[in-house]
């Protein structure tokens, strides 16, 4: 049998790979899509399971005895794509690792799904993918499955990334925003608002004497250090899921991303039906970040962080946890910023430097620079 080899598509649709920009055809089921996957995506993540290019990754069970599965997802839509101290690629890897780590999980596997705008320079796409690969490698987490869609010009803003993540939660550990108890201490792992102000400063044309950089970082090693310092996970046999062990010293961890510290504390106060009080003078903010906040009329409590966490710890363990955090490179400026109280459940109050308290509510809209 001899085959007459002929082009498949006899109408006039022409190939249009110009080598420079993303085409709709990069989006799936086409020759360009296959090229992008095989020449750029697969090498960037260098993972044997991903390289098989099946519809799904199939993985040996990663769970030890009594361990539970952690699962999370986030989309990343930052503009600009590259900013001082980071890029959308790093954010996408670190952000999902962090959402796993906040539950006490060891991050194991990530998915990466790209939505790319037609016309984006391929060089930019390749740089984003390289950043994704480098961040995953740096964190020691495997990218095992992925997806790429290309949408028409004007149908998305350059590139959006979704990462989902799977991790393993040690037996007996049950961290939850609903675990807070009066007397607990609120610890932040470092300065507030670095990421959000680095981004906003790009947009507002601010510059900095020393570059203001995003704090994007993978926090799973810091969370491991915190858990160890808090005596977690216990050596004891696994318990009923999500029932906090009696006296579990570490109540909850959260990374204060969008909405900032204010949003995370409000969510915790609501979930636990407790009050939270933080003290203005204890809130760590880097000088230039504070300068930028003052100029633009923005409160750092509401600004996003991408490499910080809030840990809520029983008072007797707060010292040990704070110490452990400060010994970790990502927690050098850790500080106790407040505590949990029984009064005013669901509300967060800031004790100002002058003494009075004011309620910190969820922000009611996007943060905009103001003149008034």
């Amino acid at each position: 049998m001899s085959w007459q080899i002929k082009p498949e598509n006899f109408g006039c649709p022409l190939p249009a790979a110009d080598g420079a920009t993303v085409q709709l055809a990069h989006g799936g089921g086409s020759r360009l899509a296959a090229e992008l996957i095989e020449q750029t995506l697969v090498p960037a993540f260098a993972d044997p399971v991903l390289s098989r290019l099946e519809d799904q990754a199939v993985l040996e069970s990663p769970l030890g005895a009594g361990e539970r599965l952690a699962f999370t997802t986030d989309s990343f839509v930052v503009d600009p794509l590259f900013f001082p101290g980071g890029s959308i690629g790093e954010l996408a890897i670190n952000g999902t690792i962090n959402d796993l780590a906040m539950g006490g999980a060891r991050p194991l596997y990530l998915s990466v799904a790209l939505i790319v705008e037609e016309g984006l320079e391929l060089a930019i796409l390749r740089r984003v993918i390289a950043d994704l690969g480098a961040a995953a490698k740096a964190a020691g987490v495997r990218v095992v499955t992925g997806d790429t869609k290309v949408v028409g010009r004007g149908s998305c803003d350059k590139i959006f990334i979704n990462t989902s993540g799977i991790g393993a939660v040690p037996a007996g550990l049950a961290l939850s925003a609903a675990n807070l108890q009066p007397g607990d201490k609120i610890i932040i792992s470092g300065t507030m608002a670095d990421h959000g102000m680095a981004i906003m400063s790009c947009r507002q044309g601010l510059s900095f004497a020393e570059p203001l950089t995003s704090d994007t970082a993978a926090l799973h090693q810091l969370t491991a250090a915190i858990m160890a310092a808090a005596g977690m996970p216990p050596a004891a046999p696994a318990q009923k899921a999500n029932e906090p062990e009696a006296g579990q010293a570490l109540r909850a961890m959260r990374d204060p991303t969008r909405g900032g510290v204010a949003a995370v504390l409000t969510e915790m106060a609501r979930a636990s039906r407790v009050g939270v009080v933080i003290a203005e003078e204890t809130l760590p903010v880097a000088g230039p970040v504070r300068g930028a906040c003052e100029i633009l009329g923005i409160d750092p409590l509401f600004v996003a962080n991408e490499g910080k966490l809030l840990a809520v710890v029983a008072p007797e363990s707060a010292g040990a946890v704070l110490q452990a955090m400060r010994e970790h490179p990502l927690g050098r400026q850790a500080a106790i910023i407040g505590e949990v109280v029984a009064e005013n459940p669901g509300l967060v109050a800031l004790r100002t430097a002058l003494g009075p308290h004011r309620i910190i509510d969820l922000p009611s809209g996007e943060l905009l620079p103001r003149i008034c």
Binding site: A209, G287, G291, G355
Partner: protein, 99 residues
């Protein structure tokens, strides 16, 4: 109205025929138009609103104000009471109860 923050002039330049400057706020640098503070010099502090420098801060007046206020404070300290009339040592510990 009129959010305006004092910053230090670290650079002066011209742009589109306008006198412009870079202003430093603890390391954050913004641009401002200096047309309304023609006599400004590098190192001066200026109050900037909506991208326009509106005054040069008068360091002498600032120092005078502080001197007056510190005097008030020193007087109180000599009396050994805080602003609520209680012994100074306690003031920090129970500020909350004041409200």
């Amino acid at each position: 109205m009129c959010l305006a923050v004092p910053g230090k002039v670290v650079e002066i330049f011209e742009e589109n025929g306008l006198k412009m400057g870079h202003i430093d706020y603890a390391g954050a640098i913004s641009r401002a138009c200096l047309e309304y503070v023609p006599e400004i010099r590098l190192g001066d502090y200026t109050v900037v609103h909506a991208g326009f420098a509106l005054s040069i801060l008068d360091e002498e007046e600032a120092a005078k104000s502080f001197a007056a206020w510190r005097e008030l404070q020193a007087a109180a300290a000599r009396e050994g009471v805080d602003l609520f009339g209680r012994p100074l040592a306690d003031a920090d510990a129970d500020a909350d109860e004041q409200e």
